[in-house]
């Protein structure tokens, strides 16, 4: 409004006519401007936050909306978009094969653990703006604030854990606890941000220490290998020995059965013979003796019969028959 006088003072003498034109031009221009600034589009992932004379009035949902021109102001906040903050690395190009850059972000990821060691923790915070009013009006630089909160929360959690915990078994817990703390501080600041997820990326010991950490893994493998080998050895030997033991015992059982059965058989035969023997002892003995002789004599080689005086020839005979078995029936009596 204040510009109009200046504008007109600079005009040449054909003033009246141009003033007339200027008027209609200005009115048309203002009318157009009013129409344009009365309508606005809110994209699908956004909401529009409307302020009137600086004061918050309402939120506008996606679509074409109307407002009082020049007085109402709209700020667009992407409430439905998932936003993310990366720490210790940056995605340089997202896609099927995303590329990352880590150089220069070591300061974000290097942190002290509770046992005063160092760990390199990379993580990403995925969040959404869930309260556009708070997001816009409660905290200056909400994005920077969220980064600060994330860094301090992660360090607080890691600072209460040992380096082993952070790197290995405690990973999931670190992520969930840090997420809780970040959300808690966000709520405290009324940041209007809802943490959707905190994902731990690479969590490593610092580069100079990595080889020795790998060494521990190797040693662990070696330990397992040694133990497995010993177990294998054990398993190769013991079941076999158990089987062999079973064999020994079975053999002994066999021996026992054989022994008892044999004895029973022999005794049975003897008893039967004995029954007959008592009836006629002398003749039975003679019969058996002669039967035996009949059986064995044909099998023998030489048979020599001498009288009492002929005993002196025996040594000579023995010389002749050296190497052959000699049996004398002298000492064997029929009785």
């Amino acid at each position: 409004m204040a510009q109009e006088p200046n504008f007109e003072f600079n005009l040449p003498p054909q003033f009246e006519q141009i003033t007339k034109n200027i008027r209609s031009i200005a009115i048309g221009f203002i009318a157009l401007l009013m129409i344009f600034s009365s309508f606005y589009t809110v994209e699908t992932e956004e909401v529009g936050v409307i302020t009137r004379f600086g004061e918050y009035v309402s939120k506008a949902q996606p679509g074409l909306n109307f407002k009082i021109p020049f007085i109402d102001k709209v700020q667009y906040v992407p409430v439905r978009r998932q936003l993310k903050d990366e720490f210790g690395y940056r995605t340089t190009s997202a896609g099927v094969n995303s590329t990352y850059r880590k150089a220069g972000y070591g300061g974000e990821s290097l942190m002290l653990t509770g046992d005063l060691n160092l760990a390199d923790v990379e993580w990403v915070v995925q969040y959404r703006i869930d309260d556009p009013y708070n997001y816009l009006f409660k905290v200056r630089n909400p994005d920077e604030t969220l980064r600060d909160i994330s860094e301090t929360a992660m360090r607080q959690i890691v600072g209460d854990r040992t380096v082993d915990e952070v790197i290995t078994i405690g990973r999931a817990e670190v992520a969930s606890e840090a997420e809780l703390i970040i959300q808690k501080i966000c709520d405290e600041y009324e940041l209007g941000i809802k943490i959707e997820q905190l994902v731990l990326q690479d969590v490593n010991p610092p580069d100079p220490v990595k080889p020795s950490f790998n060494g521990v893994n190797q040693a662990q493998q070696q330990r397992e290998t040694l133990i497995n080998q010993a177990r294998a050895d054990y398993n190769r030997v013991i079941p076999r020995a158990a089987g062999e033991a079973e064999q020994t015992i079975q053999q002994a059982e066999g021996y026992a059965l054989n022994r008892v059965n044999t004895s029973e058989g022999e005794v049975s035969r003897f008893n039967d013979l004995y029954l007959e023997y008592i009836k006629a002892p002398e003749i039975t003995k003679t019969r058996i003796f002669l039967e035996t002789m009949e059986e064995i004599l044909p099998k023998m080689g030489q048979k020599i019969i001498t009288d009492e005086e002929g005993n002196s020839v025996i040594p000579l005979l023995q010389l002749q028959m050296s190497g052959a078995k000699t049996t004398s029936s002298n000492n064997n009596g029929g009785n």
Binding site: A2, T19, G54, E55, Y56, L110, L112, G114, D115, L116, L136, F137, R140, D148, T152, G159, D160, T162, V163, D164, E190, P205, S212, G215, V216, A219, R223, L226, I227, Q229, R231, Y234, A241, T248, Y255, A256, R259, V260, F270, Y274, Y277, P281, T286, T292, M293, E295, L297, K299, M300, Q302, K303, T306, D307, G310, L317, K325, T327, S329, N330, N332
Partner: protein, 315 residues
């Protein structure tokens, strides 16, 4: 005349516009306003957003932030109480709570940031110098969850803390608020953002970590060897046990069978004199049968019983 009215109209409108724009001011959601008259504050701060009136030209509207404001500490190298040099990077969030005091004592945000630097950097430095490193890092004496193999080696490097990170942060915040209470600002939150070892210290820490890992690795290896030896020993013992038990059982079984057989034989052969005699005789006969073959020569004396039998047969 028409020309004159046009110009007058424009001038009047212009002046009116100026007056209106000077007498109206907008307080946004993010701001609060103090009205001053020639530098002298008039009334309380206006914190409610909306359109407000003031006396044009005489009154000036001074805008101040109502939101949480950031303060970022200068990364400082400070020694802790246990003489470890660390870099400490802190941040804080603060708010103008009393715009009037703020306006009078600090003037603008630049002044406020400078005062906050003095206060918070100073308090942080004091706190770091007054505590051991572990106190600044750990928040609780939480028992770490660990793989048991590593636990006993690593646990001795855990220090027990008495104050902890959370409390130190709170203390700094409290002390800062005490010093800032006349400045019209409040520190709402103070936190350590990053704590890191100074370069030279970092190298010794790496060395310590490496030696710690080597200790763990050695332990694993020796555990493996120990366990393997134990299994081997167990194997030997088990082997001997199995073999000796088998031997014992086998011998017992055999012995029992022998005894049983002996009892059976005795019962039969030893029941009478004639049974004994028959047994002797039968056994001698069996002995002949089993010892004599075609290599055997027989010398029979004419005196012998056998000859008599033979003779008897011949005749």
């Amino acid at each position: 005349m028409k020309k004159l009215t046009g110009i007058t109209l424009v001038i009047v409108l212009g002046v009116l516009g100026l007056v209106v724009s000077q007498s109206l001011y907008i307080v946004s959601e993010k701001e609060q306003v103090i009205i001053t008259q020639f530098g002298e504050p008039i009334g309380e701060a206006i914190t409610e957003p909306g359109l407000n009136l003031k006396i044009p030209f005489l009154h000036t509207a001074n805008y101040f932030e109502k939101r949480y404001l950031e303060w970022d500490g200068d990364p400082n190298q400070v020694p802790t109480k246990d003489k470890v040099f660390i870099f400490v990077d802190t941040y804080a969030r603060w708010q103008i709570t009393d715009p009037l005091k703020y306006f009078q004592t600090l003037g603008d945000e630049q002044g406020a940031q400078a005062r906050l630097d003095d206060i918070l950097d100073g308090e942080a430095r004091n706190a770091v110098a007054g505590h051991d490193l572990a106190e600044l890092i750990r928040s609780t004496n939480r028992e770490p969850a660990q793989q048991e193999d590593i636990a006993d080696i690593v646990n001795d490097s855990l220090q027990v803390i008495s104050v902890g990170r959370d409390q130190i942060q709170e203390q700094i915040q409290q002390l800062a608020n005490e010093r800032a209470k006349d400045l019209g600002i409040a520190v709402l939150d103070f936190r350590f953002k990053r704590i890191n070892y100074a370069e030279e210290v970092r190298r010794t820490v790496y060395d310590r970590m490496i030696s710690e890992r080597n200790r763990i690795a050695d332990k694993f290896r020796s555990e493996g060897q120990g366990e393997a030896s134990r299994i081997n020993g167990e194997k030997e013992r088990e082997l001997l046990r199995i073999q000796s038990e088998a031997f014992r059982s086998a011998e017992t079984i055999r012995g029992r069978a022998d005894a049983q057989a002996a009892a059976i034989y005795n019962a039969a052969y030893n029941k009478s004199a004639s049974a004994r005699s028959l047994y002797n005789f039968v056994k001698s006969m069996e002995a002949y049968t089993s010892t004599i073959d075609k290599e055997t020569s027989l010398i029979i004396s004419t005196n012998s019983e056998f000859y008599k039998y033979l003779n008897a047969i011949d005749n």
